[in-house]
Structures are given as C-alpha cells and as structure tokens.
C-alpha cells in the first residue's frame, strides 16, 4: 500500500464528497427553511441526468446540455413546489414523507414513459476526457478533478449567497421565523419557491455531472438520496456548512473503508474472511459513523442556531 495510492484515494474521497454536497446542500436548505422533508430530491437529480444526456446526444455540446439541465431542473423543481408541495408545509413530516415518496414513484414512471426502461448513454465531454498527472506517478481522471472544482465553486457561491446577499438574509430570517418576516413584507411563498428552485437546480447539476461517471437509469436518485440523508443528519439538519463538512466526511469514510478495510483486516484474518467481513464492514462504515455522531451530538456536527421551530 503505497503513499501514492493513499493520495489517490484521498482525492477519490474528496470527489465523492463533493458530489454528495451538491445533493445535500439543496436538501438541507429546503428542510432548514421550509421544514420540509423532500424525498423527491433524488428524482430531481435523475431528471437532471436524463435531460443532460438527451441534450448532449442531440447537440453534442456538454456546456449547452448543462445550461439546459440547470434551467429544466429548476423549472421542474419550482413547478413541483407550486403544484404539490406547497400544500404540505403545514402538515407533519409523515404526510410529507408519504407525499414525496409518491412523487418518486411518479417521476420514475414518467421517466420510463418518456425515455424507456433502458439506461442512457452520456459520455465525458471531449475537453475533460483523459487524465492529468497531478504529482509524478498519480494519474487522475480530469473529469473527476472538474467535479471537485465545480463543487468548490458551488460551496463558495452558496456561502456568498447566504451570508452576503439580501436574498440570503431573507433565507436565514425565514429559517428562524417565517411569520415575522412575512409580517415585515417579505413575500414568503415566492421565497420558498425560489429556494426550492435553487435546491432543484443543485440536484440537477449533481445529476448532470454524475451522468458521465455513473449509470443514467431509472431509480438512480434513490441510491444517492439515502447517502444524502446520512450527510445532512451528520452535518446538522438545515445547515449548509454542516452539509459541506458532512458530505466530505462521508465521502472520505466510504472510500477509505472500501479501499483499505479489507486489506487491513487481511493482517488479522485469512484472505477469504477478510474480504467478506471487510466488504460488509466497509458498506456499513458510514452508517456506523452516523450512529456514533447521533450518540455524541444528536443535533449534528454544525447545527443551525436560533431555529424558531
């Protein structure tokens, strides 16, 4: 086990974490501000990947596909918020879970009707194919580096949006007490729609960027949704900073577990046992981590302060 391999795995962990962050940021914003558990967040991710794959196949331009995807996923998100979710804010979480689970089924069937049951092909854009030598001896796929960069940019812009802008101020205020800011003349329903659109846009972006690396298939959203929930529970529900820290941690733990657990267990057990036990432990590692965090800090690592609700 060389140092170079460890370094490469660290990058893999970072990249996986960034991917999770794009999903978790939107989910945690929606939860933090509207108190809404949105299981259909994964469906918006799937919509993003499908739209991106389709436009990319038609036009051959990844940038255009990305632009269309962002608009489309934000539009779909806002439409869903207006039509379906708006009525659910005042209901309790169980109703929201049931309704948004219904939305998952709806989107999966719709995708199957529009695109058919087969997975779609989405290739890495030519400019980002191939790999670069980041340090001598370690080739890293350029596309994965691009994911890390985009994730970093998104994290920075979100920070700027929430901490530095008027819109961000309203978002934070409405997370604390939406009745008061409604009384102060802020159009709360519009704000909700915009925030939901932002969350959907981020999910669509994650889907579009995942397409060339992961399978674009019906139900792709559910896999990542579970991890996303783990991330926001670890980071503190409603906290974007928490989502960033949580997703990087989950990314690292997952990759490191898979990369090194079976080998390290091999020092103590025979190879067959080490492989079996190592693989099982590795797939459980993030859930064990989440359980530990819940025992140690039930509110998550970086909880939001001053929540009114």
């Amino acid at each position: 086990m060389s140092l170079l391999l460890v370094l490469e795995q660290i990058l893999n962990g970072l990249q996986f974490g960034v991917m999770l962050f794009l999903m978790a940021a939107g989910l945690t914003l929606v939860f933090g501000i509207m108190g809404m558990i949105n299981l259909a967040h994964g469906s918006l991710y799937m919509v993003g990947a499908y739209v991106c794959a389709t436009v990319f196949q038609l036009t051959g331009s990844f940038l255009l596909a990305l632009a269309v995807t962002l608009c489309a996923s934000a539009a779909v998100g806002m439409a869903v918020e207006r039509v379906a979710l708006r009525t659910l804010y005042s209901r309790d979480h169980l109703d929201q879970v049931l309704a948004t689970f219904g939305l998952i089924l709806f989107f999966n069937e719709l995708t199957k009707i529009i695109w058919g049951p087969r997975a779609l092909f989405l290739d890495v854009p030519a400019a980002l194919s191939g790999s670069v030598q980041i340090i001598p001896g370690v080739d890293y796929p350029l596309y994965r580096l691009a994911i890390i960069v985009v994730g970093g940019l998104v994290a920075f812009s979100l920070y700027w949006l929430i901490v530095r802008t008027r819109m961000g101020m309203m978002i934070r205020a409405s997370a604390s007490n939406q009745e008061i800011i409604g009384a102060l003349g802020v159009n709360v329903p519009l704000l909700y729609t915009l925030v939901f659109g932002l969350g959907a846009l981020l999910a669509g972006l994650a889907g579009a960027m995942a397409g060339p690396v992961w399978a674009v298939e019906v139900g792709m959203g559910e896999n990542i949704l579970i991890l996303t929930f783990v991330v926001i529970v670890i980071g503190g529900i409603g906290s974007v900073r928490g989502a960033l820290v949580g997703s990087i941690l989950v990314g690292f733990i997952d990759i490191m577990g898979r990369a090194f657990l079976p080998a390290s267990l091999g020092l103590f057990f025979d190879p067959a046992t080490a492989n079996g036990v190592g693989a099982s432990l590795a797939s459980m590692s993030i859930y064990i981590f989440m359980a530990a965090i819940l025992v140690w800090r039930p509110q998550g690592l970086l909880p939001v302060h001053g929540r009114y609700r």
Binding site: P117, F121, N223, G276
Partner: protein
C-alpha cells in the same frame, strides 16, 4: 322490468361462462420494475409476455392470466407480493425474481406451499444443492455457470494474475467461486463491493495498484454501466483486458456504456445470433413488439413462459395434479431459444455456454458469438441435491 333484469343476468352469466369453463392458469410474476436494476425485470417481463402474446393470451393452448408485481429489489417487498399471490390470488405458478438474495427469501416459502416456482434468472447455489426442491425449476442457469466459463477462458488464454470483483450478495459469492473453480492462476485481488454501488473510484485505484494482467467482474445492471465507464475514464481500457459474464455486457448495458465495451469477451448461454428457428422467431418477435434488441434476460423470460407452455400442453392445461405437471416440466419438451437444453437432476439447466465478443453492428453495440466454452455443462451442486 323484472323479466328484462333476469334476461340481463342470464346474458351476463352466459358471457361469463366460457371464461369459467376453460381451464385457466394463473401465473404470478414478482420482478424488479423500479429503482436500480429495473431494466432486468422489464426484460424478463417483456420476454415472458411476448411468449404469451404470440399464442394469443395462451401458453400450450391454455389461457393464462399473468399477474405482474414490482419487488423494487427488496426482499421484504418480494415476500409480501409472494404472500398475496399465494393467499389472495391463488396463483398456480410463481416466477420472475431477478436477484438471488430475494430468491433465497421467497422461493422456499412458495415451493413449500406446494406452488411451482420457475426461475427466469436467479440461480443461487443454496437452492441448487442441499436446498433444492421438487417444485423449483431454474430455466436460466445456476449462478456459477457463466462465471465458470469465463474462468476457463481466462485460464486457457494464459492469464496468470487476475483481479476479480463482484457485489457482496449470494450471486456475487457464487460468481467468484464459479470463476475460481476453473481459473487456477494467481489472484491479484478478490473484491466484494456493495450491491447497488455506483462509484468505483476506490476499487479502480486499488486495482491499478495491484497491477493485474486481467480483470474479471460480475456487476449486473446499472452497477456494470458505472464500472465500465469509470474503468474507461481511468485509462485502463486496452491496458488491462476486461472479462465478465453476459450480465456485465448485456444488451441493456451496452447502449449505456458506448465504445468502452467494444471488443470485450464475455460468456453466455444465449445470444441473438444462435441459429435455430425458435431463436429467430423470438428475436424478430421481440424487435417487432418492443422496438429494441432483446437481452439475455428477455430470452430467459421467454424460455420460462415456453417451458410452462410445454408442460401445460402435455397435461392438457391441468396444474392440480402436481405430480403430472412436475413430470411434464422436468421433460422440458420445448425448443429453447438457446438450442441445446435439458434439466439436470436438481432441476437446473444442462446446456452449452458460449463465448461472445462485443462488436458494433451498424450503429448499435451488440454481442457476437465467437466460440463455445462448455458443451452440456451441468452445475457443481447437483450432487448435493436429494430430491
């Protein structure tokens, strides 16, 4: 008024009667239609339906009522559906399960209740050996089979340091066990991944570090798509050759991975170019009905239906006499689309396993048969089966 009511009732009875009089067989299909891996279930369902439709709603001359339910690749859900099929719908035959972990949970319950189970896919070793049952038939393969063929091929081609990986579930363990039964060289690594995993960066980095001369992987459905793409992006295509069973390079996968799979060798009991009348009718019929190329899962669904059809024909549509229907199933008196086919003592196929290569035909990627790995191949567990 009363008279016309009576007449109406009588008419209703008369119209309803023929349905009651003809023997009708109920088939319950539990398969994966949503979530990751739904392409496999859809293919099995479409293949099965095609056989029924080609006979105008019948199998072997008997009207068939097909109930299809989604299991979402969850054992709990599959069990629920199975219970409903058995208790409420009173089905005669259950079929459809894709994933071995689900099959292990559901099949014993079904066959113990005296209902026939025809597997169009999953063939876990647990149900082929000591856990075999007289009411359980597998029309596809025992899990190990295709992997055994690849193990033999990789060994014969002189590879000595293979890296092998599969998901951590019963079929994954069967896969690597099957591969190792015929491949006796060194192993650069033996890795079990999580079922449904999408990101393989960690595994690919470790793989590169282990410096193997061949990679054998079993990752059905979306897992395979993700892996092949990422393997390609890591720049390993062409450097370290990939090998796998047909599940890793099936028609539903090839369209989604593109040229990254071109030239890869894989093993299968079926391919669309196998030359026999039944296969030609199947491939042409499938393309006409669904406007796409059939995958091997579709061929298995189709054969499952035609096996049931052959048995119904020989019993005159009766399933109640379990002994007679079982004997009829065991004979497997139908022309399988794969050609050579019969059941071994444990009700698993004895069949040829072919070697295929991924090629480009016009605009689509597909598989071409290039050789044969085994003739009349039976599974390794038949001896443990006491039936």
């Amino acid at each position: 008024m009363r008279k016309s009511m009576t007449a109406l009732l009588a008419a209703a009875f008369l119209i309803g009667m023929p349905g009651l009089l003809t023997a009708q067989v109920k088939v319950g299909m539990i398969t994966t239609l949503s979530g990751g891996g739904s392409a496999l279930g859809v293919a099995v369902r479409d293949g099965f339906k095609l056989a029924v439709d080609q006979e105008g709603g019948k199998l072997g001359g008997t009207a068939v009522e097909l109930l299809v339910e989604d299991d979402a690749r969850k054992s709990g859900k599959a069990l629920q559906v199975a219970n409903r099929f058995m208790k409420r719908d009173k089905v005669d035959i259950v079929t459809g399960i894709i994933w071995s972990n689900l099959a292990i949970a559901v099949v014993p319950k079904v066959v113990e209740a005296g209902i026939f189970y025809i597997s169009p896919n999953a063939g876990p070793s647990k149900l082929a050996g000591a856990g075999c049952h007289e009411n359980y038939f597998n029309v596809a393969w025992q899990n190990d089979n295709l992997h055994e063929a690849m193990g033999q091929y990789v060994a014969r081609k002189g590879f000595k340091n293979a890296y092998i990986m599969a998901p951590n579930y019963p079929a994954g363990k069967d896969a690597l066990r099957g591969f190792k039964r015929f491949y006796k060289g060194k192993l650069a690594g033996e890795i079990y991944t999580t079922l449904g995993q999408t990101d393989y960066a960690a595994e690919i980095a470790a793989l590169r570090g282990a410096n193997p001369d061949a990679v054998f992987f079993f990752l059905p459905g979306g897992m395979g798509i993700s892996f092949i793409k990422q393997y390609h992006q890591a720049g390993l295509t062409g450097k370290v050759p990939l090998f796998g069973p047909a599940f890793s390079f099936d028609q539903t996968i090839l369209g989604a991975v593109g040229d990254a799979a071109l030239g890869v060798i894989n093993s299968s009991q079926w391919n669309k170019d196998i030359d026999n009348a039944a296969n030609k009718a199947f491939v042409a019929g499938f393309r006409k009905a669904y406007d796409r190329l059939p995958s091997l899962y579709a061929s298995q669904g189709y054969d499952a239906a035609r096996l049931i059809g052959a048995a119904l024909k020989s019993t005159g549509g009766k399933v109640d006499d379990k002994g007679a229907f079982r004997a009829a199933l065991r004979k497997a008196d139908f022309d399988s689309v794969r050609g050579n086919f019969r059941f071994g003592a444990n009700h698993h196929p004895v069949q040829d396993i072919h070697v295929r290569e991924v090629v480009r035909e016009g605009k689509v990627l597909t598989n071409k048969t290039v050789g044969k790995a085994f003739s009349d191949h039976a599974d390794a567990y038949a001896g443990q089966c006491k039936m």
